[in-house]
């Protein structure tokens, strides 16, 4: 598979603070890569480095097998959707969409025609004569997408494009974005801090932490075999439980061979069973009910905390004592010192 985008040992700095540390990433042509991470992890910097809005301090950036590290933004053939959408407030929707074509000397009529077509693709063809000030958040988002689509860039860069939308609209646009990607088959890099968005949208996810790539993998890999406690706890809500392997809880089933060094056991709230006959005793601190689900926050011996997800109908009462149980099959092991995944 040919490469859509390659970052090869890219470092970047803001003033004197290093923001990215030798980031290696490759995105296949037609792939949708989601860059996921908490705020301050350098996600947006990755996009800005690809777009050329931020210089690299080391490493190379290749787009469509072409080294663009020293090219100015306009020569990289990328489209960008900004978190704020960056629509021109004084231009109508159609003028906004056609802007990139018109400054590249596409004849006005042709530019308008293609703008209209792009608007139809993302479903904002009815808004062409309005100005951004007259649009709702979702409509602005569509216009920003149409503006990115109107050219045929080698890479689409989307910087948290859904973060300014309300929850329902975000879910809807998420699905539309995925459908759009499948339809046009473009190479896309999508930045978000929303793990659900990442899991739903991505072909592959790159988890970023403090300017370093923590793990790259399919949503399944990220979910089932997190490479570190950071990935494990960042993806999934509530976060994965972590307990020392020699702590109060012993999972059931065939134990893997454990080495000498201290380890941590991780298990998701879904993996916890509360009504076991034999298990670790725990006290229910509080219970959060969210529709059909309930999250029970439990205290174990020696002050360890565990969250369990149970059906709301069978939730324990606050203050009750329960016995909790986890299977080895649902547990993850990490090195306590480094947080990296333990492979027996």
């Amino acid at each position: 598979m040919s490469d859509g985008l390659v970052l090869d040992g890219v470092s970047a700095a803001y003033r004197d603070t290093a923001v990215l540390h030798e980031v290696d990433l490759s995105v296949a042509r037609g792939e949708l890569l989601v860059v996921l991470g908490p705020s301050g992890a350098g996600k947006s910097t990755v996009l800005r480095v690809v777009a050329g809005l931020e210089p690299v301090t080391a490493g190379r950036v290749r787009i469509a097998d072409r080294d663009v590290t020293d090219e100015r933004p306009g020569r990289r053939n990328v489209s960008m959707v900004f978190q704020s959408y960056a629509l021109f407030p004084h231009l109508t929707v159609v003028e906004n969409i056609a802007f990139g074509l018109e400054v590249r000397d596409t004849p006005r009529r042709l530019a308008r025609e293609r703008a209209r077509a792009a608007a139809e693709t993302v479903g904002c063809a009815g808004l062409l004569d309005r100005r951004p000030g007259q649009l709702s958040g979702g409509e602005r988002q569509r216009v920003a997408l149409a503006r990115a689509l109107v050219r045929e860039p080698d890479v689409f860069l989307l910087d948290e494009p859904l973060s300014n939308l309300d929850l329902a609209l975000r879910a809807e646009m998420r699905a539309e974005l995925r459908a759009l990607h499948d339809r046009i088959g473009a190479t896309m890099v999508h930045v978000t801090h929303d793990q659900t968005e990442a899991l739903v949208l991505a072909d592959r996810i790159a988890v970023l932490r403090d300017g370093r790539v923590e793990q790259v993998g399919t949503p399944d890999e990220i979910w089932r075999t997190p490479a570190s406690t950071f990935v494990a706890r960042f993806v999934g809500s509530p976060a994965m439980n972590l307990l020392p392997a020699d702590g109060p809880l012993r999972p059931r089933g065939d134990a893997p061979t454990l080495g000498e060094e201290p380890l941590e056991i991780g298990f998701r709230p879904e993996a916890v069973a509360l009504d076991a006959a034999e298990g670790t005793p725990a006290t229910v601190d509080r219970v959060e009910v969210i529709g059909e689900d309930a999250f029970a926050y439990l205290s174990l011996a020696a002050g360890h905390q565990v969250v369990a997800r149970v059906p709301a109908a069978r939730r324990p009462a606050r203050g009750a004592t329960v016995r909790l149980d986890v299977r080895w099959a649902d547990a993850h092991l990490f090195h306590a010192a480094t947080g990296r995944r333990y492979r027996p």
Binding site: G74, R76, V78, A86, P89, R131, G133
Partner: protein
Amino acid sequence: MSAGGAVPGQRAARAARSPDRRSRRQLALMLTPYLVGLVGLVLVPALVTLGLSVTDYDLLRPPTWAGLDNFTALLNDPIFRVALLNSVVFALVAVPLRVLLALGLALLLHRRAPGVGTARTAALLPTAVPEIAYGLLWLWLFNPLYGPINQLLRVGGEHGLTALGRTPPQWLTDPTSARAGIILMSLFTMGETFVVLLAARRALPRDVYEMAAVEDATGWDVFRRITLPLMAPVLALLAVRDAVASLHFTFVPAFVVTDGGPPPYATTYLSLFVYQTGFEYLRYGYAAAATLVMMLLTVAAVLVQWRLIRRYRRFYQV
């Protein structure tokens, strides 16, 4: 912070809806100094001017009724017509140049870079010089023999001519050069306009410019399609404000530097005309009539300004 800020805000809103007697008295008290100034310094003089404009009055004898004689006399007064024309020409030339210069400097100096702070201060400084001192300074700068401007122009030339063999401008004795000189003087006092434009440019969103960079827009495209339209409302307001102010800021240069000359009345502007008519020739009624014409011009400019604001508000519809 936000919770604390909300409460006084709500209280203020409630007070505005149903102002009780106490807060109304407080508001009146706070407005008083401004109202006293407005009435005493603007409204009463304006009314007195209106009254005087239909009289003949020389400070010695009591005013006598003259009806519209002053206004018909103004229409036929060649000096007044020259002054009116001079003022309009000055506004038409100097105001766009001032705004353009301020815009150019603002766009040049809005980024952080070494030396930018000094450059901004330099752009602002002439505006801070007291007007009379500024005028006297230019009297020296304009001096045809030892003034630095003409010395500079004579560099490389012989027998007191420029390098191209032409006579350097006789700033204070040639009518066209004198008019140009007054305009030149006014250009360097655009500091306020510059500061406003600097702030306006810095307030423009950065991502819009990054968007343009990704789309490979040229500098000219960015200026023409983004910066200029986004700053247009501010530019229009500043131009109108400058046009209004230009009726006044021609006064000191013409008074101190050129004294309304050289003949024939090359730099006699409306403001100087009013001053001379009133305080030198003691024709108060006539001067009041000319002042009224000036005020009408100002009102016309303000009306234009108001229409512009309304137009742009509709244009952006935020």
